[in-house]
Symmetry: D2
């Protein structure tokens, strides 16, 4: 149950409601939500108690979501959320394209990409400074030096920056440089990390795990939301299946499934999903046609020399030509990019 508590006299009403629920055997969490206060319980009270809460004026509105991801549900909020990061408005009519290299490798590489994608209509720059790698022997990212380069690229181009954070205790550091925090596929159920980015109140880009059901993914988002951070954007990036012709299997049906169940904006990352440059353009167009609110695409000045994911990054010419194709598809479904 979610109870929306009136603003005034808020603290008194919250105390009353918590007390009321405790007597009914229900522990409630108090969640600041935009300028409101919510009380959320795991289980629903009896319907007579629900009525009493409403009629007594303790709660302004009571929602009994059918989903376990209560704050993420459309039953709680019917209209799609708009998450703003600079000029990027995830969930609005325009499709947002996030682009940049897999890893920040150096000043020149990053600035070249940043300027190029900015010119092409990209509104958010991506780049990895801390890289989660299967093998401890592989390139692990530039760390804080990479963060500083991202901040410099923002300074130069005006593009806000999203980058991945891997550990709860690094959230503060990354938040000093970034405008949006990315939770990678491997950390989708790293609950301590989810709580930490929730508390940061920065916008969060939450990637689906390669082994995570849509339902589990929404419950992971709920960990962030429950810290009072409503700025969560979901990003489908492929799931693991028996098929090995692609790196992962892009589950595009997740886009309309999510659209029907959650108000959170939905991105698609065709780069990680396919692992192959040749497949990025068709899947990016398909994602927009399926209703995605945005795309995350890896671009690199010289993909063949990239320190990570060299097979799946577009060069800048390929990326420019993709942007044109995307605009046409976005218009065909009543949206647009530029």
């Amino acid at each position: 149950m979610i109870a929306v508590i009136p603003k005034s006299p808020n603290s008194q009403k919250v105390a009353q409601a918590v007390d009321f629920l405790r007597k009914k055997g229900l522990e409630a969490r108090s969640v600041p939500w935009n300028d409101q206060t919510l009380l959320v319980t795991q289980h629903n009270p009896a319907s007579t108690d629900v009525n009493e809460l409403k009629e007594s004026g303790i709660a302004e509105r009571i929602v009994l979501p059918s989903s376990k991801a209560q704050l993420a549900s459309r039953e709680f909020q019917n209209e799609t959320s708009i998450v703003e990061v600079g000029e990027a408005r995830f969930g609005a009519k325009k499709v947002v394209v996030v682009a940049g290299p897999c890893s920040v490798e150096g000043r020149e590489q990053l600035l070249e990409v940043a300027h190029a994608v900015k010119r092409l209509g990209v509104t958010l720059l991506r780049g990895g400074a801390y890289k989660p790698r299967t093998s401890p022997y592989e390139f692990q990212g530039l760390g804080e030096a990479g963060l500083r380069l991202l901040a410099e690229a923002r300074e130069e181009t005006g593009l806000p920056v999203v980058t991945e954070v891997l550990e709860p205790e690094r959230v503060g550091l990354v938040a000093k440089y970034a405008d949006m925090l990315q939770i990678g596929a491997r950390n989708v159920q790293n609950f301590a990390l989810l709580r930490a980015v929730g508390r940061s109140r920065l916008p969060v880009l939450l990637k689906r795990g390669m082994m995570t059901t849509i339902d589990e993914w929404l419950q992971a988002a709920e960990y962030v939301l429950l810290e009072g951070n409503p700025n969560v954007v979901l990003c489908e990036r492929g799931i693991r299946t028996f098929e090995k012709a692609t790196r992962n299997t892009l589950d595009l049906a997740a886009v309309p499934v999510l659209r029907n169940t959650t108000h959170l904006p939905i991105l698609v990352d065709p780069s990680h999903a396919t692992g192959s440059r040749l497949l990025i353009a068709p899947m990016a167009k398909a994602a927009i046609a399926a209703g995605a609110d945005g795309l995350m695409i890896e671009t690199h000045p010289t993909p063949e020399t990239a320190l990570s994911d060299s097979q799946q990054q577009l060069d800048l010419r390929e990326f420019a030509s993709l942007m044109e194709e995307l605009e046409a598809v976005a218009k065909a479904v009543g949206r647009g990019i530029l």
Copy 2:
């Protein structure tokens, strides 16, 4: 290896080539292919032997495909095949929409759908007369009575008909009524059936199995092609994964993967892939954006009363509105439907 044998004096050249290869330890199959004769061997001859075949004039052209699905490969035929079934031209610029009910249930139901979809621009009618059902207690289709109704619908509307065949010994019967034979997901590696539809020379719609890799699927197509039947259309219909929010996981990346490796036209079936009416429209649009040559969509006058797959059939109003949306997306990617 595929050797293209000159037309004249064909039978003599074929005999020479078979003989030559046998001496090199290679068994060759003779495959009539449009108006040519091909000799196909499992393994490649030594390069000196390849040269000798060409220089001696026994072979017009030699192809050494890197894929095991040799006749299906783009190395053998670079341009996309066009498979014609009446006015439906799979693989041509226009996107082909195949529509109709999951099962043929009766005269009225079928004719109502047939007339409606014909009006909306559909060029091929689908309908199941023999239904493969998980349980022996479920509706198994009307059998030959269903075939007769399909033939009647064709008579009335001019729409050619595609329907599933389940057994080698029924291929002849089904071929009497149908214009295109469908091999369902469960039969994608029913090799006797593949050979039988190959020999029929009717166009074949080959669905992907729900746990078939793209590579295995192409090798299944090779069974049909090797009977001298070049008219194969592939149809992606979702694979089985851990995710249960959808009936299957539509693997749309299969479309561009196939586009790069095979000349066979590629269809997508969003109805079976998703199992849910709400998801069909977004995934149909996504399929076209990803480059599919066509769609197969289940429609029913009253889906809620359908004898099979009632959750995943569009009613005729929904279908009409989908066709409009599809046209817009098809144009955005340089194609069209109507």
Copy 3:
């Protein structure tokens, strides 16, 4: 619902029961079952009708299985079925080991294996004459010549023979030579074939499909049982997953899951499941410890020269040593082999 009809006067009671059910809107199938007649309906009658059927003496016993695989359910038959093929008694206390080469390749190969495994306690010889192969270019088996060799091996050793059948119209031919018919993984939902082997009344070895849930597999068995053939043995052979270190993922938990739900005997095939000689012995022992009623193991005089599956066949020395280890594990779980 399954209604067991009294033997005398049987045909009259059957007619009465069919009539009674039809009036209630239920179509019943009459199934000969050992020396009884069963009437089986897809849906259950109202409980008052169930009572009437029993009290009127039309039915001796009424079963309302919770599973869709009614005849396969433990609710219909509580004790594990014993399926006899010569001296092999699947489902009895002793663990049955089925062994032989993947493919019948020639007289010498087959007889050498047959004599060797017979000496080691094997009670059923396996060998493929018709081979379902992913590629049309691969060895497809010796066909009827292979069947004749199997019959000769039986003649020489006294071992009964199990071999795969791929097409409904070949069931009669294969049944002339074999004592048990194998349905391979790719054909587990080839319903025409299931019905055909059901009608043959020969014992049937039904392999699980690599994409088939346990529930779907039991419903496939139901197709065979419903033809009045109670002699079905299930064989787990691995399912397809994301893990590629083994050819398939052996789902050993299927053994106790099936034990709790069906009375059909359960075999395990560690050769196909793992695809690797090194893994066969540990997984064979594990299968027995998990409660399997038997094993199917590929053996070959010289695995490295085998025409199919050369990586997963044990040589005769390895097989002999495995049999000893298996005996110890079988005894530890209260069973035995020899």
Copy 4:
């Protein structure tokens, strides 16, 4: 490459080797390993350089593992590692059984289980104090209070304790109370956490992720080993597949696959793998027959009241009877438990 550096004069030789490798373009990590020092590089030096390292006496031994998980490979260490935690010796002849409740729920519950399992031959007590839960609304464990109860149970019974740690910054706290640190399935690629438990030098129980390949899992173990912590025990706990009859699919073939590639001891957790009390005993026996070095089994005084995983915990009577059955199987494969 792994170079084993002589003990004396160690620091000098290490410096020499690092220097030598750097000149060849290779960065080496210095890893304390038992009482030795290892230098490990991602890529292999040229064979002439390998020879020079050996002949010069800078390295005692050079290993060039074929696997990316170099320190985990049998090529580096041929005999199975023995990881000791109190009297539990993972990797030795005796099979180790780890048991205890899913979550520590209270003093009485834990002590009752601890005393009972101790009497039955268990040598390591498990119990969760920090629980990773799919939903933020579910019971998250008692936290440090739970750790204190575990320490008390150790005090009372003499059983060492293993418990899960979820965050790098909690490793120190958990290490104060526990004898072995568990990394759960969701954290198998939480690389910061892996490094932190590596640095703790406590023995580590590393569960496989539900969608982690065996190869990726070993590379995760490498993160721990590379911190100089050789005490890693692997634990197979089921992978995620399409089959839903069990909670996960226990991949028992992982046991012999790992046996052939790594020296690390291998446990199996049939509780989480199956999610069902009825399946635990058969799969536990199968695990031992497949060659596992130990088992982890959830037990609870009253499973039906458990705050987590109530479907998959054995009661103490069931557990006692299982221990007897396990002893028989362990003896049949030349091992034993008690």
